[in-house]
Symmetry: C2
């Protein structure tokens, strides 16, 4: 059983099956070349049956090794007659306005569907039903006002950046047990747009809701997250229990917000934190709790209002209580007089070069 | 030797190597989880060396199975420290303005580079030098005024749609023996923009120069072409020898031009032609020579000025001289009185349904 699973993962991950041993664009092999070798005419024999290969490929697309490449064609709808064994269908950079009920009929082997940069405002609720093996759906840069209903349960990665999504309703992710990555930045999402329980049951590792309209860290996201990216929002503070749920985070992106305050103790819920980005905010001091983050290696604090750096702001007092050295601390573009900072403040940094100080980058 | 070649093709075609038997986004396996199991502090032992996995991944990107996914991050330059074993680097939908000399240093295993939808106007002439195994370069939707110099000799597919390219200079494709597909539509290319010999040595199967400023079929393209797409240009006529070089074409897209005239005999140089798109032009009659195209299955002639259809315009007179039946002829949106067309005009069509007639689609 495990072997079967591994095998199917391996197959799914290959953009082409390993046993497809053909040259990449080697059309000509299938294309009647042998037939054209005999040139006599009018022999009276019935016309031979041609192999269906090139005609199965929508005009202007390129079709090889189960990859259907139809980007940049000015298409206004999903082409018909896509071969049923297609693994990857690339329809990006077209003018598709709508995904209709039968657009993906028969594509039960599709692994990745790329619809980025179209004009899609409507997805029929049954349109994805045939896609029983779809793992990647890239539908960024469209006009969707909501996340499509009935996403395939096989989905692993959803990229739905830059649409017009304002609301994530409670049941929209139902049954998506395999999804571990959602990129939904660039949407006009406010905190109130997430219905309670919307993320229930998801086991996400990666979530990005950057470039949105969040005013605080959403409280209801999956507790499985390893990476959470909330940069370019309107977040003003990190309060004590904002992060309590996210104890598995090792990367947190909060740059380009309006954070003035990080409540004492709020970072203590992040024992695995390795990389914390708080640059381009309104912090007036180094956030409390950094010395206790034993795995922390990178802290971005540049472009804030930090006026002083204390000798114990970064490093713990006891020797050996920090497990890794810092290898990146950025403090430039802050009004801190760097000649007043004691060198010992950086005693747990791997090298002087790991500190970006001064205002030279301003 | 042949086995080695097949193997390397197989590996190159897989977006992940088949022997990478890990779950797709299974971050957590590499991420210090085991270390966090022992929680005691201050033991005095030196900090353990952490596996470099997540830190090798640029912040905000997702890095798995040698795929580095950094799209939609607002990046203004190529991130540093991309792992050297990366196979696919996706940087699309960012704000990268320039590709610098050292941006891809060490990426000698890169197979596909996606730079679509950035603001790239400059590529350093040595930037691609490290990419000894790059097969796919997708750099559509940027601000390039010319095709980058020193494209990797390993390149198989180049997509450079929607840039600002006006000129294709003589040596730009030098040494690209493996390229078989170029998509360069959506550029302000005139016929005079192609320097003589620019395509010499290329063995292309697929070329698309749609949505450009061509006034005629370029004469100097590779004679290996199977598909040529020149739709949405300003082509006014097909002259006798325009297509003489392209005897291997089986798909030709000439829709949305201004073609009034197709010279008698000009199509006879296309013995393998299967699908011919001439819709949305200014033709006043069915082009001469169709009955001689023994492999022709699809002809689009809709949205022209065709006023009559002769009984021998599509089908040859002798039985058995055509090798395949038509399965698609479009004639709608033409001022032809369809009741005057003799049914025998379509005697070599597979089914009545294959004919789109009348003006009902106007």
């Amino acid at each position: 059983m495990k072997l079967v699973l591994l095998l199917s993962i391996t197959l799914a991950l290959s953009w082409a099956l390993p046993f497809e041993q053909r040259g990449f664009w080697d059309f000509s092999m299938d294309d009647g070349l042998p037939m054209m070798n005999d040139e006599e005419e009018g022999s009276g024999t019935p016309p031979p049956v041609l192999p269906p290969v090139p005609m199965d490929c929508p005009f202007g697309c390129q079709c090889h090794l189960r990859v259907i490449q139809c980007s940049d064609l000015g298409l206004t709808s999903v082409p018909k007659n896509i071969p049923h064994d297609t693994r990857l269908l690339d329809l990006q950079n077209n003018k598709i306005t709508e995904i209709r009920k039968d657009d993906f009929l028969g594509l039960h082997n599709l692994y990745a569907l790329v619809l980025v940069n179209n004009k899609i405002s409507k997805v029929h609720e049954k349109a994805f039903d045939p896609l029983k093996r779809l793992q990647k759906l890239y539908i960024s840069k469209n006009n969707l006002a909501e996340i499509p209903h009935s996403l395939p349960h096989s989905l692993v990665e959803l990229r739905i950046h830059e649409n017009k999504i304002k609301k994530v309703s409670k049941d929209i992710f139902n049954g998506l047990k395999n999804v571990n990555c959602i990129e939904m930045g660039g949407n006009p999402l406010e905190n109130s747009g997430f219905e309670p329980g919307a993320f229930d049951g998801l086991k996400l590792n990666y979530l990005r809701i950057s470039e949105a309209k969040l005013t605080g860290v959403p409280k209801d996201l999956p507790d499985t997250l390893n990476e959470l990216h909330l940069d370019h929002n309107q977040i003003q503070a990190i309060e004590l229990e904002d992060l309590i749920r996210y104890s598995k985070l090792y990367r947190l992106g909060l740059g380009f917000n309006k954070i003035r305050m990080i409540e004492n103790g709020s970072l203590n819920f992040l024992p695995m934190m390795r990389e914390l980005h708080l640059d381009n905010n309104k912090l007036s001091s180094v956030p409390p709790g950094l010395p206790d983050l034993k795995m922390l290696q990178v802290v971005y604090l540049h472009a804030n209002n930090i006026t002083q750096v204390g000798v114990n702001d970064f490093c713990p007092v006891g020797f050996g209580t920090k497990r890794v050295s810092y290898n990146g601390i950025s403090l430039f573009s802050n009004p801190v007089p760097y000649w007043e900072v004691q060198p010992a403040a950086f005693r747990c940094v791997s090298s002087r070069l790991a500190i970006q100080f001064g205002n030279y980058r301003k």
